[in-house]
Symmetry: C2
Subunit: 283 residues, 2 copies
């Protein structure tokens, strides 16, 4: 049982990880080894105190240096599900189970909008995880929505299983398979009865499918952790970064505006200190 | 009329100033040119993201560099009083009046305890400002409590006016005047009737005085801004860093634990963005 699981490798997760490490806590940090795409792609940052003017790439390198100096490891798995289990948490990451006393959510905000019908059909044809649910669609017809090239290996994995894949990447894809049809049209509505039956596109066209995989950088918080309280699209927290679930804290963009690196590192710091207090109370 | 007045030059005030400057706001930033003593004296900081390991002096130099690069000025005056004036604020700094639409309080936490009787006799013999109130004690007997050598010029100014100064510095003082009596005893209770009459020391000795000057790095928030809502010793704020007074925001150590640089810069960032939103609403 870990002391804590941190989800997300942006500035908020980074700040939380550094602080838990300083306090010698036993934690797993899930996310991308390339940290945050948002940070890396920023052209010029002038309001991160201590760096008068730095590029996103420059700040990324400083962050990387800090992680290495602190001896912290990133576990490059995608978290698909977090379950409150009465005093502790179970986390499913790429189909492997992890357990921890506390959780820090630092997964940023979803830039993609949730589709109409997506929440409704989650678990009934809508999936966020190819490795978890791919086998259910062996020999079937599926749609795959993808917003980052880093998930394309999952698209190929799905094409190995499914009879037909209708693929909707938000970028120029280089994937070539006989059973993959790439479309520039944008998905709009997921429809069905008890199960997903079709996907309606912006053009008005309707594609018949048995399932829809949404492979995105982030999962909507309410899909990731059942029962978490939201404040519009953000996770509701108090000033100690506590959510409504005991032992579960959130920080960074996922808790709301301003979407700023400095705000994110500040909240990551607070969340880590709240975890440390929470663990001390339980002992 | 300024857009904003920032009080305090620690990490929270710095972060707020950088952001207001980025948004081209017209503001005054009060505090010490040496920024925060707490930052400068830190031996080793390992949890400020981007600097794997840096000394307090090192981070101070980075902050200084940032201030210079951004073209921000520090106004080295001590703020004695902030008054809500119906939609805007009046700020008294070293006896000079400033007006602003919004306030950011970033004055840190008081390390010194408030004396028994201090709040009660504020304005009735207790003063925080030699230049403001010194003239009231011409030819009288006063006590001066001082916790930083940087206020010793005020002690000498008071000695020019008063008949007798009982002086209680918390450090080794080099001040030499015929009418200044330096004591290593510690003040404990301020007593009087309608006005201050005496100061009781820890040793049990009672010194008869007409006034008590408390020259400290920080003033308790409730003394600085009448009407501000506290949460124990800290300023009560919501997640946008808003206090109970409209247009008045607070950030950094003065809003509570954890007392951390990273938390402070994060809150300074949020406070600045809240000021920017507030100004936009008023326009």
């Amino acid at each position: 049982m870990y002391d804590c699981i941190i989800i997300g490798t942006g500035p908020a997760g980074l700040s939380a990880a550094i602080n838990l490490k300083t306090y010698n806590k036993n934690f797993v940090w899930f996310g991308s080894g390339t940290l945050s795409d948002k940070v890396r792609k920023a052209e010029k940052i002038v309001n991160y105190p201590g760096f008068p003017e730095i590029s996103g790439q420059g700040l990324f390198e400083k962050f990387k240096e800090h992680i290495e100096a602190a001896g912290i490891e990133i576990t490059e798995k995608t978290v698909n599900n977090v379950m409150e289990a009465g005093g502790y948490y179970m986390v499913l990451a790429d189909n492997e189970l992890y357990e921890a006393k506390t959780i820090i959510l630092a997964m940023g905000v979803m830039s993609a909008k949730v589709l109409e019908g997506e929440q409704e059909y989650l678990g009934r044809g809508v999936s966020y995880c190819a490795t978890c649910d791919g086998m259910l669609y062996r020999g079937k017809k599926i749609a795959v929505i993808c917003n980052s090239p880093k998930y394309e290996h999952e698209v190929e994995y799905l094409a190995d299983l499914a009879a037909q894949v209708y693929y909707y990447p938000t970028f120029d894809s280089a994937v070539q398979r006989d059973n993959i049809t790439i479309s520039k049209d944008r998905p709009k509505i997921i429809q069905g009865d008890m199960q997903v039956r079709s996907l309606v596109l912006r053009s008005g066209e309707t594609v018949e499918v048995d399932g829809v995989f949404c492979l995105r950088n982030a999962i909507a918080p309410s899909s990731l952790i059942p029962g978490i309280q939201l404040d519009h699209a953000h996770i509701a927290v108090d000033r100690s970064m506590a959510t409504n679930l005991k032992g579960c804290f959130a920080c960074g963009d996922c808790t709301g505006r301003p979407y700023q690196y400095t705000k994110a590192v500040g909240e990551g710091n607070i969340a880590a200190h709240s975890v440390i207090s929470h663990l001390a109370e339980k002992e």
